[in-house]
């Protein structure tokens, strides 16, 4: 085994198999499993296409104010002059309003659409983040410590998984609102804010359990392996065993679970908003727009189709990307 530069010290030469293995582009060995999976993913055309679409939506969400400014409109300004006395918009695609205006209020559709990408993505990413962190920690603790910790956490997991999640999400909304003084005493802005946090809480609360169960199972088999026993034998503290020894071996299930929960959360957020228990005005959201637009679908199909296309394309590409990521980490699944 040769070590990098010719001037390397004798000491290193003496211990060729020492700590750091040499990784150069020429040596095919020594790729980490994540690296291999990533390489597989890069060759997957579907995955690359979906990833670019997802990035496109993220860019839209990030630069929503800029895009709206580029158009020269604002998502909350009413243009009552642009709707007739029945509430139908009098303009469609136009240089001033790129996607026309909403029925009744006459707010700019394009601005509302780009801003609508924001809550979906923020809620989905935050819920995934919280759910993943809690799930991993709980799973690690349950699997590694065993005993009563395991029993308590496993029971909690079973408990959460046996709750009807959609109904609980719906039920939590009025409870949290009345804790804050009832929906009548809240300004729309406050109510929208509360709904936003309730959604993140509900989604992550029901999201961690599945991952915790998977992680627990993996840890149960990993903790009997030699490298963990060795680490324990030389007195590595538990925390370090958990996060330095076990965690790197759990990257695959964590990444897979996170990438599959993203589309699920986008779907759930928009679905709850569609039912009227998710986001509310004045936060523009696609799900809520769909609910309103069903009343206008004959007269103003564009109003309905904008958010429908937004959600469908975003969820579809997130889901297909998640599926591709799973295949890349675990090629056995595709048979």
């Amino acid at each position: 085994m040769s070590i990098g530069s010719p001037g390397s010290t004798v000491g290193v030469e003496d211990h060729p198999a020492s700590a750091e293995p040499v990784r150069t582009a020429a040596t095919p060995h020594g790729k980490s499993p994540s690296r291999i999976a990533f390489d597989r993913l890069r060759k997957d055309k579907v995955a690359v296409t979906c990833a670019s679409i997802v990035v496109f939506f993220i860019l839209i969400a990030v630069f929503a104010p800029l895009l709206a400014k580029l158009e020269g409109q604002n998502y909350s300004t009413f243009h009552t002059d642009l709707v007739d006395e029945f509430g139908y918009p009098t303009i469609s695609f136009s240089p001033d309003h790129w996607f026309g205006v909403e029925p009744k209020t006459g707010r700019d559709s394009f601005a509302r659409w780009v801003y609508g990408a924001r809550p979906s993505l923020i809620i989905a990413f935050l819920a995934t983040l919280f759910g993943t962190v809690v799930g991993v920690v709980m799973g690690l603790l349950a699997g590694f410590l065993g005993g009563w910790v395991d029993r308590v956490i496993s029971w909690l997991v079973d408990f959460v998984l046996s709750l009807p999640y959609l109904l609980f999400a719906i039920a939590l909304v009025p409870i949290v609102e009345s804790m804050r003084g009832g929906s009548f005493n809240l300004t729309p802005q406050e109510q929208a804010q509360i709904r936003f946090y309730v959604l993140i809480f509900v989604l992550s609360f029901f999201g961690w359990a599945g991952l915790a169960r998977i992680i627990r199972g993996e840890v149960l088999s990993l903790r009997e392996r030699e490298f963990v026993l060795a680490a324990k034998a030389i007195g590595v503290p538990t925390r370090q065993v958990l996060f330095k020894e076990l965690l790197p071996n759990l990257v695959a299930p964590i990444v897979i679970s996170a990438s599959l929960s993203l589309p699920a959360y986008v779907t759930a957020e928009a679905g709850l908003s569609f039912l009227g228990v998710g986001l509310v005005e004045p936060i523009p959201s696609w799900g809520q727009t769909i609910a309103v637009a069903t009343n206008w679908f004959k007269a103003d199909p564009l109003y309905l189709w904008l958010p429908v296309i937004g959600i469908t394309v975003l969820v579809l590409s997130l889901a297909l990307l998640g599926d591709a990521i799973r295949d890349a980490f675990d090629p056995k699944t595709r048979r």
């Binding site: 408990f159 959609l166 779907t267 969820v315 048979r335």
Partner: protein, 330 residues
């Protein structure tokens, strides 16, 4: 076996008990104001507020309230509103003051809708879904299989409510190819009942068939590569006998597990279908109660749905060990 059943039973009951406590705590102990919510914000006088509070026993200690609620589930209880006493019969899940009816009665009137919906759905996924999945597994790797699997993946990745909404708006209203979703009790007119539920069944069923096809394909692919299948073929059994008698029987086991939980979830979670097709089921009841802040109804529905889910979990666990002798009873 008996020990296993007993242990599962205890764990199921513990979940039910905690769900009961948790929902009760959420609705009545948390700093919420159920009496205020029932009384309404606009024309609520102090006298009416106090009366509601007394009738609901909200002025008593929380533990006593909980004991009364729990006792009501088993023995029933009485409620008094503005001088009139109403009896809430045995499985009493509380009293809806907005509607002046016991919650149990309201749930009972909505249950046939949701059950009809889920029953038709169950038939569709178990026949079409499993059939398509095993067909694909038999032809694994062919163009048809790959096309089918790709399309099921794509379909099941689109949010369900979008599909349902588009079908409802475009195929039943704008271009009335399919009958509109409506509810008619089957006892009145079975033909109307069927026609009104046809579209929701088809949409819900066909959408979910995609994931069932994927499950059963995966499970069948595994089973078909087992040694005993090879033996069966070597014995000279016909292809049909091998596939449907030998392979499908054990290949279906994981699918049945998922199916059990799925049906239980759908009973409480067919909200989108009910809302989009205008069927007055349990889900719509919850949404309506939400708009009027009718907390007892929401709580009752959540409780019933949780119990159904836990019971189904328990049944699936038990039947799993009965169907599949390989499962160790630990």
């Amino acid at each position: 076996m008996l020990y296993f059943v007993a242990r599962r039973m205890v764990s199921a009951l513990s979940v039910v008990l905690v769900t009961l406590i948790a929902t009760f705590a959420l609705f009545f102990v948390a700093p919420t104001d159920p009496a205020g919510a029932i009384c309404g914000e606009r024309n609520c006088t102090q006298q009416r507020y106090n009366e509601i509070k007394a009738n609901l026993h909200l002025d008593r200690p929380k533990v006593q309230q909980f004991a009364e609620y729990t006792a009501g589930i088993f023995t029933g209880r009485d409620f008094t509103t503005s001088g009139v006493t109403q009896h809430c019969a045995a499985p009493c899940l509380g009293f809806s003051f907005k509607n002046d009816r016991p919650v149990t009665e309201m749930l009972k009137s909505r249950l046939p809708v949701t059950v009809s919906l889920v029953a038709g759905y169950a038939v569709l996924v178990l026949t079409i879904g499993v059939f398509v999945g095993s067909m694909a597994a038999k032809r694994r790797g062919t163009l048809g299989d790959r096309g089918l699997m790709t399309s099921t993946l794509v379909v099941s990745s689109v949010p369900y409510y979008i599909v349902a909404l588009m079908v409802a708006l475009y195929l039943t209203i704008l271009y009335p190819i399919l009958p509109r979703g409506e509810w008619h009790p089957p006892s009145e007119n079975i033909g109307k009942w069927f026609a009104g539920l046809l579209t929701p069944w088809l949409v819900l069923g066909i959408y979910s068939c995609t994931s069932y096809a994927r499950y059963s394909r995966g499970s069948m692919v595994e089973t078909l590569s087992e040694d005993y299948i090879r033996t069966a073929r070597a014995k000279g059994l016909s292809d049909r006998v091998v596939t449907y008698k030998h392979a499908l029987r054990s290949g279906l086991i994981p699918v049945i597990t998922i199916f059990g939980l799925d049906v239980a979830t759908s009973l409480g979670g067919a909200i989108f279908t009910e809302k989009i097709f205008g069927l007055p089921g349990l889900g719509v009841l919850v949404l309506d109660s939400l708009n009027s802040y009718d907390l007892p109804v929401i709580m009752g529905t959540v409780l019933v749905a949780s119990v159904i889910l836990v019971a189904m979990n328990f049944l699936v666990d038990i039947s799993y060990s009965l169907i599949d002798p390989r499962v160790r009873l630990t």
